[in-house]
């Protein structure tokens, strides 16, 4: 199966062409190839893994539904990824109103810079998960996905200034938390 997947991966265009014609096998291969990465992307935004999976499923459904609209100008993964981000935002919006806190979250500890501590992926995810939803979304979109503030503003239906301020605040909170982690880590060691 793995060999088959690797062989087919070499011919992604052919797979896409077949998937457009609703070839279920080709769709399955594409799903197998991209779903682990895409679930991880959805997980950036959504704390609950089952909800993240739901967002991913919705995303893949749209991928195969509108696959013929995919113009092979960019990478296929990039195209799917943008769909996943939208679906994650959509799912969060559907659940509840996303809040973008205007007030600073109280900073108890001072810290001018991030320490160079080697954080595990789970720790990073936990740090992101603990951010207020608005902060988290703007931070992930800007720092991880590489969206511009104008794009974030459009997708989240907020102003660019709000996007910028949300990023600033998210960074601030993350800094505090990393510093806190380092301190507690030092303490344990």
């Amino acid at each position: 199966m793995l060999l088959k997947v690797i062989q087919l991966h070499k011919n992604e265009k052919e797979l896409i062409r077949r998937a457009i014609k609703q070839d279920r096998e080709a769709q399955h291969v594409l799903f197998e190839l991209h779903s682990p990465k895409m679930l991880s992307v959805c997980r950036y935004y959504i704390k609950d893994i089952h909800q993240a999976e739901e967002a991913m499923l919705n995303g893949f459904f749209k991928v195969f539904k509108y696959l013929e609209k995919f113009k092979a100008q960019g990478s296929f993964e990039g195209w799917i990824r943008r769909i996943m981000v939208r679906e994650s935002i959509s799912l969060l919006r559907g659940k509840k109103r996303i809040e973008f806190p205007s007030e600073d979250i109280s900073i108890h500890e001072k810290g001018s810079a991030y320490s160079n501590t080697e954080l595990e992926v789970e720790d990073i995810q936990r740090l992101i998960d603990n951010l207020p939803e608005g902060y988290r979304m703007v931070f992930v979109m800007y720092a991880i996905e590489g969206y511009k503030h104008s794009e974030i503003a459009e997708l989240l239906k907020i102003s660019e200034s709000t996007s910028k301020s949300q990023l600033f605040k998210a960074r601030k909170v993350l800094q505090q938390k990393v510093n806190h982690l380092n301190k507690t880590g030092d303490g344990t060691n």
């Binding site: 769709q27 499923l57 954080l119 992926v121």
Partner: protein, 263 residues
């Protein structure tokens, strides 16, 4: 710079992460995709229906349009009226010239009588045929019964009365004249002219006529439409009809003229 370094670091780590979805996720997705095409197919049938109805509408409208345009084209009824008019005109001209032709035929007969007297031969005209063409060329054919099969033909060329016939018609007319002359020549030579001979003459004339129409020597252009028409027998038929018509009408006129004169 520090936040950027931190962000780069966490991006790298997060990008390496992969989360394996539950085993049933693909099945769920597959079921959803299976359900989707049915709806799509329904939509496509619906669209197909609309497209078909549009196509039908276009066909019906085009048929109606063509019919209406046909009625417009069928105004050749007017053209036919015009041709009838021209026929009437020619008939009028014929009636005008009829008197002249009667006079002419009288003169002809008088002359023939004179000739007959000079030759001291009995001259009793039995049958005189005047062939009248549109150029008002009169071909008078006379059969002298007493002198067996000898036939004297006198042709009169009248100055053209203002005629509306075009050059093609005049060419045709010339052909008619030529054919009639040929028949008369044959009559001179033989006692009887068979239908086959007349047919052959008509066929030859027909050929010449179509070739003249086909190729214009002055412009060196071959008429493609006429080339196609050559295949059709309609023209052949009309030309033949015209020859017989002219022969017949001319015969009747002269017969009545002679009858009146005798009276």
């Amino acid at each position: 710079m520090a936040p950027i370094k931190f962000e780069e670091d966490i991006r790298e780590r997060l990008e390496k992460r992969e989360l394996q979805p539950s085993a049933d996720v693909w099945q769920k997705l597959s079921n959803r995709l299976d359900a989707e095409p049915k709806r799509k197919r329904n939509i496509s049938y619906w669209r197909l229906g609309i497209a078909a109805s549009f196509a039908g509408l276009i066909m019906v409208s085009s048929i109606l349009f063509l019919k209406s345009s046909d009625t417009n084209i069928n105004t050749p009824a007017l053209v036919e009226e015009e041709t009838v008019k021209t026929v009437e005109e020619t008939e009028l001209i014929n009636t005008v010239t009829e008197e002249e032709s009667i006079q002419k035929s009288q003169i002809v007969l008088e002359e023939l009588e004179k000739e007959g007297k000079n030759q001291k031969k009995e001259f009793t005209p039995v049958n005189v045929v005047v062939v009248e063409t549109k150029n008002d060329q009169l071909l008078v054919m006379e059969e002298n019964a007493t002198e067996d099969t000898t036939t004297k033909v006198l042709a009169f060329k009248e100055t053209a009365i203002a005629s509306t016939v075009d050059s093609i018609q005049t060419i045709e007319q010339k052909m008619v004249d030529e054919v009639v002359a040929e028949i008369q020549k044959l009559q001179e030579e033989k006692s009887t002219v068979t239908d086959a001979e007349i047919d052959a003459l008509l066929h030859q004339a027909q050929k010449e006529l179509t070739s003249k129409h086909l190729y214009d020597a002055s412009t060196k252009i071959v008429d493609a439409e006429l080339l196609l028409l050559q295949v059709e027998t309609d023209l052949d038929q009309s030309f033949r009809d015209r020859v017989f018509e002219v022969l017949n009408s001319g015969y009747k006129k002269v017969r009545t003229a002679v009858a009146e004169r005798n009276n």
